[in-house]
Amino acid sequence: MKAMVCVKRVVDYNVRIQVKPDESGVVTEGVKMSMNPFDEIAVEEALRLKEAGKIDEIIAVTIGPQQAQEQLRTALAMGADRAILVQTDEAVQPLTAARVFAELAGKEEPGVVLMGKQAIDDDQGQTGQMTAALWQRPQATFASKVEIEGESAKVTREIDAGLETIEVDLPAVITTDLRLNEPRYVKLPDIMKAKKKTIDNTTVEELGVEAAKPLKVTRTAPPPARQGGKKVESVQELVSELKNKGLI
């Protein structure tokens, strides 16, 4: 059984992003880019499933610019077997991404598609569910535990009220939450070894996928500023400030 893992190139989570002065977007030039943290967790989960003998091949996939190869290389260095770059210089919104992934899933026939629960750039949180719908397969979102037994997977999900466990027939889409696992660090020899692994190149058009009508982003503005930074010297002072504000 194969696993397909979708990894997105995003601004590194440690970067404090800047909005462009003309409000046309966020500055990404010269900014550190990384694999979306949730996608690292997805790759790690695939590796663990492979180590446990549940799957035998891991395919990492990304949709993005030529430079997104770097994130595929990271996935290969972590232990993925091969990779596919669906190259595009345009920003791809979730519905179009899902059409691409559903198309690739139809071709590759993975037993599981692992994705992040959200990409931390656009915070959409849609692509996994959309891929599952278009592929007409189950979805297990926000996973904190995955157990594959034969033809199905038992997945524990982080929900607002606590934890929920569902069972889904395979193939299925699973999206990862933070506590599913802790991704391994890549070691130098692995990076060298990964250079020999193949990355196939294709495009949205080549896959015969029709891009969805996008949401037009007409403005990107900084959030309203907050006045913070005031300090109090003691608990008593804190209490009287809170009393003044009518909060206690």
């Binding site: 992003i17 750039d121 569910q129 959309m130 189950p138 979805q139 929900i159 969805a212 007409t218 005031k230």
Partner: protein
């Protein structure tokens, strides 16, 4: 004119607060019809009745099917998609984990994009939504010739009032329900404290609290204030508290009147969850902690001294 369908979220006969907020958001669309769909496996009169009371709601549709017992997205999505074909222009749901799981599946079945986390309605198809953990706000325009699917950011809206009196109608939907997804169980952390998502006051602890045992002082202060309790990701990861208490970009996004962050450094991902709070208080022993840059009232102190002292001062 828009005709809006809200998908109700409910549990054990109670309508969720997120649903009331979604209704409040929908009012800003100035809709000619604002209907709420309640999917149940049996009964459901309580939930439908609660939805019918929400201000602005013009009709409640109750859809009964044995498969609806456990609110599985794969089971609900085809029913919602089928119902929407009835001339609705907008489908909205709260951005709880229920809504986040369900709505993209509905949107994909309808072949339309989704607007995640609506924080402001600027026009029938124009909305504001946050990106990069709320560090930027985008205005997005959706195609006006397609159904608009959206999730509503709870922290941006109060709940709708409860002065309404809409009629409740039983509705059959024609949808093929898949068998590939089955409910196994749920582990719900019951608490008598105010619900973190909607509490007017919240006290949160971070890694600085140090242990599950030490978290007692956080609970104790919260009880004194009548507050809900939250935590940072680090505190959840370390096992001090269960996952449903996580506040932040990838946990709960809240907007209490008072937020007290104790032993929390103030990472941007945590900040994303509280930036709409009224007054933010931070207690941290490191005066360089980034939380102090954004807190309205900062106290540099050891939490093990300051928190019990604060609790006592509230007597």
């Amino acid at each position: 004119m828009s005709k809006v369908l809200i998908i109700a979220e409910h549990d054990a006969g109670k309508l969720s607060a997120a649903t009331g907020k979604a209704v409040r958001c929908a009012q800003d669309l100035g809709p000619e019809a604002l209907e709420v769909a309640v999917f149940v496996h049996e009964g459901g009169d309580d939930v439908a009745g609660a939805a019918a009371k929400l201000d602005g709601v013009t009709r409640v549709l109750k859809v009964t099917d044995p498969a609806n017992e456990n609110a599985l997205a794969a089971v609900l999505a085809p029913q919602v998609a089928s119902l929407v074909q009835d001339g609705y222009t907008h489908v909205l749901v709260g951005n709880s984990t229920f809504g986040k799981d369900l709505m993209p599946r509905v949107a994909a079945l309808l072949g339309v994009p989704q607007v995640t986390d609506v924080m402001k309605v600027e026009g029938e198809y124009v909305f504001q939504r946050p990106i990069y953990a709320g560090n930027a706000i985008t205005t997005v325009e959706a195609p006006g010739d397609q159904v608009l699917c959206a999730t509503v950011r709870g922290a941006s809206y109060p709940a709708a009032g409860e002065g309404g009196n809409a009629e409740v109608e039983d509705r059959q939907v024609d949808a093929e329900i898949p068998q590939h997804t089955r409910f196994v169980g749920r582990e719900v952390h019951k608490s008598d404290r105010p619900d973190l998502a909607t509490a007017p006051k919240v006290v949160s602890g971070g890694r600085g609290v140090g242990s599950e045992e030490n978290f007692k002082i956080i609970y104790s202060l919260a009880d004194k204030l009548g507050a809900g309790v939250g935590a940072s990701r680090a505190a959840v990861d370390a096992g001090y508290v269960p996952n449903d208490m996580q506040v932040g970009q990838t946990g709960k996004i809240i907007a209490p009147e008072l937020y007290v962050a104790i032993g929390i450094s103030g990472a941007i991902q945590h900040w994303a969850g509280i930036k709409d709070a009224g007054t933010i208080v931070a207690i941290n022993k490191d005066e360089e902690a980034p939380i102090f840059e954004v807190a309205d009232l900062g106290l540099v102190a050891d939490l093990f001294e300051a928190v019990p002292e604060l609790e006592k001062a509230l007597d």
